[in-house]
């Protein structure tokens, strides 16, 4: 039993030593690097899939080791948890010592004050003003009197505050991950395209383990208007979305609702089109075309699964490119100055019913055949397909990409950050120092000073503190 205890105690000492902490800090820094180099799942699945295609051998191995979600990987957690354990092991004893130091009086003067970095002697008993110092006066049997004074406790207080606030931040992050949720989706303009805060309406919902679908606060959003303004060179200057009867929000100014915040992350054009099949049946769609570049050249698909009676062999789909200010194959400006929609028609199985997850902005043409010519349309123009069916480009609407989030850990993390910023300067710039004064029974006196931390200006302060404070006209011999 005893060797085991000794082993444990030694391991604990090792873990809480500064060297270990430094090594762990470096490991943490190095461990964070792959997350900036390799594609991360939390930032989007597509680049990760791309990486798998480009590195078919390496990618599965990296995936096993958690390199595509580094900051949730067990080995990364191991580093920071060890670091925090080491931190606790360091902070707790220091906290105990500091509390003791705060309760206790400053220690007795050393026997030989002249050995201290600062020392001065007086020919008579001086009156020193230790204002702002924690001090204690001690009388001794030999008739001498010592005064011990100490200052700069805030340095250690700041140090402990700084390190404890890191624990507060960690707790806030953990609470946010357990009880927070978020989701993204696209919201198309118009009363017929509302979005309500239920789980299945999101593209990529992320729920903490302690959140269930029924916990989402009930609200609906309806995009009434979206305004974007641009410079002549196409650079955007402002975006603003209006929802639910005049509530406005924009980039940097989210819509703060009860229990959730709505952030404006992107915007684009949605294409409205009507397809009339050979039998005269009509289907109308409004499809968001995400932008592909700064000039809002946009790519998307128009799907008509109900065309030709909904027969999976005879569905109709269009690949489309939308250019708001068309000039040849590119767009010159993000505003709609010369809008053109170019469509490539396909016929066959769109694949919506197969239940295979797919990118909704790309047409899966594996089970389809080309159906007529590529054509470029203005708003209101119609394209006629070989079977006499028609596609009409009715117009465009705006759409916005929003992120809806709730993170209950935020106030805790913010509190931690504020405490950290209070503690840090105290810890870095605070200076712990002690001054002792000994009054000898023979009428002489001496003072000594000791800076407990790196403090180049201590000599000046010592000189000031130990200067003769009496109003009497003679000065002490020094």
């Amino acid at each position: 039993m005893k060797p085991a205890l000794a082993f444990l105690r030694n391991s604990w000492r090792q873990l809480t030593s500064m060297r270990t902490a430094l090594v762990l800090l470096f490991l943490l820094a190095i461990g964070a690097i792959p997350g900036s180099i390799l594609p991360q799942r939390r930032l989007g699945e597509t680049p990760v899939q791309q990486y798998f295609i480009e590195n078919p051998k390496l990618a599965p191995v990296l995936d096993q080791l958690g390199f595509f979600d580094v900051y949730a990987a067990p080995w990364f957690a191991a580093i920071y948890l060890l670091l925090f354990t080491s931190l606790v092991g360091c902070v707790l004893p220091r906290l105990r010592d500091h509390v003791r130091a705060l309760i206790k009086t400053p220690p007795e003067a050393p026997k030989r004050l002249e050995r201290l970095p600062q020392h001065t002697v007086y020919g008579t008993h001086p009156t020193l003003d230790f204002k702002g110092w924690r001090k204690v006066r001690r009388e001794h049997p030999d008739g001498s009197v010592t005064i011990s004074a100490e200052k700069g406790y805030l340095k250690e207080t700041g140090n402990l505050l700084f390190h404890s606030s890191l624990l507060v931040i960690l707790a806030g992050v953990a609470i946010g991950a357990q009880w927070g949720w978020n989701g993204q989706r696209i919201l198309i303009e118009g009363a017929d395209k509302p979005f309500c805060n239920v789980l299945y309406q999101y593209d990529r919902p992320v729920l903490g383990p302690y959140v269930s679908a029924s916990d989402l606060p009930p609200f609906c959003l309806e995009l009434e208007d979206f305004q974007a303004s641009y410079l002549e060179n196409g650079q955007a200057t402002s975006f603003e979305a209006t929802v639910n009867g005049g509530q406005k929000f924009r980039v940097n100014h989210p819509l703060r609702l009860d229990g959730a915040n709505v952030y404006l992350l992107g915007h684009g054009y949605a294409i409205e089109a009507r397809y009339t099949d050979a039998a005269g049946r009509v289907q109308q769609v409004t499809a968001a075309f995400p932008d592909n570049n700064d000039m809002m050249a946009s790519i998307g698909v128009l799907l008509f699964p109900d065309a030709n009676g909904g027969d999976p062999k005879n569905q109709i789909g269009f690949e489309g490119i939308y250019l708001p200010t068309a000039e040849g194959a590119s767009s010159l400006h993000p505003e709609e100055r010369n809008p053109r929609l170019t469509l490539i028609p396909w016929k066959g199985d769109i694949g919506l019913d197969a239940g295979i997850p797919q990118n909704v902005y790309v047409l899966d043409t594996k089970r389809m055949t080309p159906f007529g010519e590529r054509k470029t349309l203005k708003k209101g123009e119609t394209q006629t397909l070989p079977d006499g069916s028609k596609l009409e480009f009715l117009g465009t609407r705006s759409f916005i990409a929003i992120s809806v989030r709730h993170d209950p850990g935020e106030p805790i993390v913010l509190t931690g950050a504020v405490l950290l910023l209070v503690g840090l300067p105290l810890s870095l710039y605070g200076k712990r120092r002690r001054v002792w004064l000994r009054l000898h029974p023979d009428g002489t006196a001496e003072a000594g000073g000791l800076p407990k931390t790196d403090y180049p200006g201590f000599a000046d302060e010592f000189e000031k503190v130990t200067r003769w404070q009496s109003t009497e006209s003679f000065s002490p011999s020094r």
Binding site: M18, R19, L22, Q40, S238, N252, L421
Partner: protein
């Protein structure tokens, strides 16, 4: 060419001239090898010229050069400093002109960011050169860095003036970028002081390869080390504040205070490394040289964040306009 372009040309050429003067000071100044060689030769001639022991003299045995031995080259260091002041004034004019033309704070893209950060570094450096004459030789490292950074900013990164993109249109733009730039300027000068300390203390320990021979010309090791620590101790809380302000802004702009965007990752890495430096510096069992090397690594991570992340990675902080 816009008015800031004229000042920019002046700035870069000014730093170049200052760099040449500093280099000349190293080569021909009163403490240089050339000057010492001249003195040694005179001594040898005077002694009648018997065979001399080859090899570098022992550092502590090296003859201290009389200040009057080479009077013509004593103006080089003051001249380098004056030219640095002129270049710094042109640098300030560049940033002001840009700011006035754009009608906003001058850090809307990578060119403006680099120019403002380096301007701060020059200001901090000149302040220290006035306060502590002993560190003036350090100017070579600083102006060399300035020539490289302002040169790259002017030639590669410069873009025409444009208003801010909507994502940057926030009060946090001033708070976050302002504090990050200030901390970066301080870290830059702190890095230069650490390099100076490493060279000087290496020289004192008898190293004579690479740059170590120049250690003899530098301020004493303890001064450089203390200076480096004070600069880092000042920069670190400002950096922490800048990162925290960025997190507050990120919450409003992107919906989360921290998302491991590449820029955030590297800001975190720099924070961890500099925290490591401060801990190492406060631990007696860790040598000051080890601590100084950590500070150098810290600066490399800063450079990685400024150039590497903007050029090689795509992320949410992509306003660089490279």
């Amino acid at each position: 060419m816009a008015i800031d372009g004229v000042f920019l040309t002046l700035t870069v050429s000014g730093y170049m001239v200052a760099m040449l003067l500093h280099a000349a000071d190293f080569a021909f100044g009163p403490q240089s090898h050339v000057a010492r060689a001249a003195v040694r030769e005179r001594e040898l001639v005077g002694a009648g010229g018997p065979a001399v022991v080859e090899g570098a003299p022992h550092p502590y045995a090296a003859p201290e050069v009389e200040p009057s031995s080479e009077p013509r080259s004593r103006w080089l260091l003051p001249a380098a400093l004056i030219v640095t002041v002129v270049a710094g004034a042109a640098h300030l004019a560049t940033v002001l002109a840009r700011s006035l033309e754009a009608g906003r704070m001058p850090w809307g893209n990578m060119y403006e960011y680099v120019m403002t950060g380096t301007l701060l570094a020059t200001a901090i450096w000149l302040f220290m050169a006035v306060k502590k004459p002993g560190v003036r030789h350090l100017g070579l490292f600083l102006v060399l860095t300035q020539v490289l950074l302002t040169g790259v900013a002017g030639i590669v990164l410069r873009k025409p003036v444009a208003p801010l993109v909507p994502a940057l249109d926030s009060v946090w733009y001033v708070v976050h970028v302002g504090s990050i730039i200030t901390a970066t300027g301080l870290f830059l000068v702190g890095f230069a002081a650490s390099v100076m300390y490493l060279i000087r203390s290496g020289y004192d320990a008898g190293k004579r390869t690479w740059f170590y021979p120049y250690g003899r010309l530098l301020a004493n090791a303890e001064t450089a080390e203390r200076l480096s620590f004070r600069l880092h101790a000042l920069a670190f809380p400002i950096w922490t504040f800048g990162v925290a302000a960025g997190a507050v802004w990120a919450e409003a702009a992107w919906g989360r205070y921290w998302g491991w965007d590449p820029k955030e990752v590297w800001a975190f890495i720099s924070w961890v490394i500099y925290a490591g430096y401060l801990h190492a510096r406060a631990t007696p069992s860790v040598s000051k040289r080890t601590a100084a090397w950590i500070a150098v690594i810290g600066w490399l991570t800063m450079m990685m964040n400024l150039f590497g992340v903007n050029i090689f990675f795509t992320g949410l902080h992509s306003y660089g306009g490279v």
